[in-house]
Assembly symmetry: C2
Homo-oligomer: 210 residues x 2
C-alpha cells in the first residue's frame, strides 16, 4: 500500500499522528499541494478527486478522506483504540471529532484557502472547478474560529481529553486545528488555560511530531 | 432515549432513513429550526451547540452530528450493516459518505443557508454568533453542486450503489443531498441516467419516506 502525503498540510498530519499512535509504518509519497502536485496528471490518475491524503491499497482500492483512512487502520489494528469501542464511546468520539472538524478545522481552512496567495482560484481543495477566493468567507472564518476556541475551552474545563477520559481521534483533529490556526495568525487565547494545558499534553506525545 | 428531530430538514432525515433501514423505533421530539426552536433556552439546555438532530441517551449522554448518531445504532444493531464490516468496506463507505457530504450536501447547504430569508444572520447552523449571508458563498455552492452531480454520475455509471455493491450510509447522504438540492432549484440533469436510475431505486425503498 502507499499513502500519498504532504509533510506540512493539516489533513495528512492527522493521518500521520494516528499511525504513530498505533505504531504503524506505511510507505509514503510526498505530493506538493501549493504548487499543484495534487492536480498533476500523474496524481489525478491515482485519485481523480485530487486530494491528499489518499491511501492506495495493494488491490488498487483508493481511499481518501483522512478519517476514512484512519478507520481502515483502526479496524486492522484496534489497539490502542482511537475511535472508541462501545456504542457510547464510538458515538461520543465521532460527535466530538466532527464538531472539531466542522466548527474548527473547516473555519480555519475557510480563512486560509480564501486568503493564501498560493490558492488564488483554488479556494476549495482538490480537483474542483476554478473558484475565486472570498473575502466574506475568510472574515466569517475568523468569527467561527474564535467561537470554536471558546467552545473547546468550555469542553476542556470539564474533560481531560476532547471526547472524554482518554486520547482519541477527536484530540488529533483538535490539535491539528490549533496548529493550523497559527497559519492564519490565530492562537489560543492565554486566558484559555484548560486548552493551553491540554495542548501542552497532546503536543508532548511522540506522535505529535509525525 | 430521545431523538430531537425536524421532519423536513435534511440532516434529521438521514438519521430517520438509517433507523428505518434497521427497523429501529426511537421516541422523537420535533424542533422547528426556521423559527429558532433549536436556539430556544429549552433546547440549548439539552444541547448548547443548538443543532438538530441530537440524541440524548437514558444516562444523559448527548450525541449530535447525524453520522455520530447513526454510528451509535450501528454498533448496537449491526444488521443490516450500513457502515460496512471489513476494513476495506468501512473505509470505502466512510470515504464515499464524506465525499457526498462535503462535496454535495455542504455545497447545497451553502446555497440554501446563504439565500433563504429564514436564515438571515444565521448563515451557519446551530448556536453560532450572528453571521450575515454571503452571496459569494451561495454562488460558489452552485458551481460545487453542479460539479458534485457530475462526479456522482461518473461513480454511479461504474457502481450500483454509491460505495459499491450494497446500499450504505453513503447512499443515504447522496439521496438526501439530491432531494435537498431541489430546495435551491437544482435537479439531477436528465442526461445523468445512472443517477436517475439509482435515485429511483433508493427513493423506492420504504426507508425513503421516513
Amino acid at each position: 500500500m502507499k499513502l500519498y502525503d504532504m509533510g506540512v498540510a493539516p489533513n495528512p498530519r492527522r493521518v500521520r499522528i494516528f499511525l504513530a499512535e498505533k505504531g504503524i509504518e506505511v510507505e509514503r509519497e510526498e505530493i506538493d499541494i501549493p504548487s499543484g502536485g495534487n492536480l498533476s496528471p500523474a496524481f489525478l490518475a491515482v485519485n481523480s478527486r485530487g486530494v491528499v491524503p489518499t491511501l492506495v491499497l495493494d488491490d488498487g482500492t483508493v481511499i481518501d478522506e483522512s478519517m476514512a483512512i484512519c478507520r481502515y487502520f483502526e479496524v486492522l489494528h484496534p489497539a490502542p483504540s482511537l475511535f472508541g469501542r462501545t456504542a457510547i464511546e464510538q458515538a461520543t468520539i465521532e460527535s466530538w471529532q466532527r464538531r472539531c472538524e466542522f466548527d474548527g478545522m473547516f473555519a480555519v481552512a475557510g480563512i486560509f484557502r480564501n486568503r493564501s496567495p498560493n490558492f488564488a482560484m483554488r479556494a476549495m481543495p482538490g480537483n474542483n472547478p476554478p473558484l475565486a477566493q472570498s473575502a466574506e468567507l475568510a472574515a466569517r472564518g475568523e468569527v467561527l474560529t474564535a467561537h470554536f476556541l471558546d467552545r473547546l475551552e468550555e469542553r476542556l474545563l470539564a474533560s481531560p481529553f476532547v471526547a472524554g477520559d482518554t486520547y482519541s481521534v477527536a484530540d488529533i483533529t483538535a490539535l491539528v486545528t490549533v496548529d493550523f490556526a497559527r497559519w492564519v495568525k490565530i492562537r489560543v487565547p492565554a486566558t484559555n488555560t484548560a486548552t493551553t494545558a491540554w495542548y501542552a499534553a497532546v503536543s508532548a506525545r511522540p506522535s505529535a511530531t509525525a
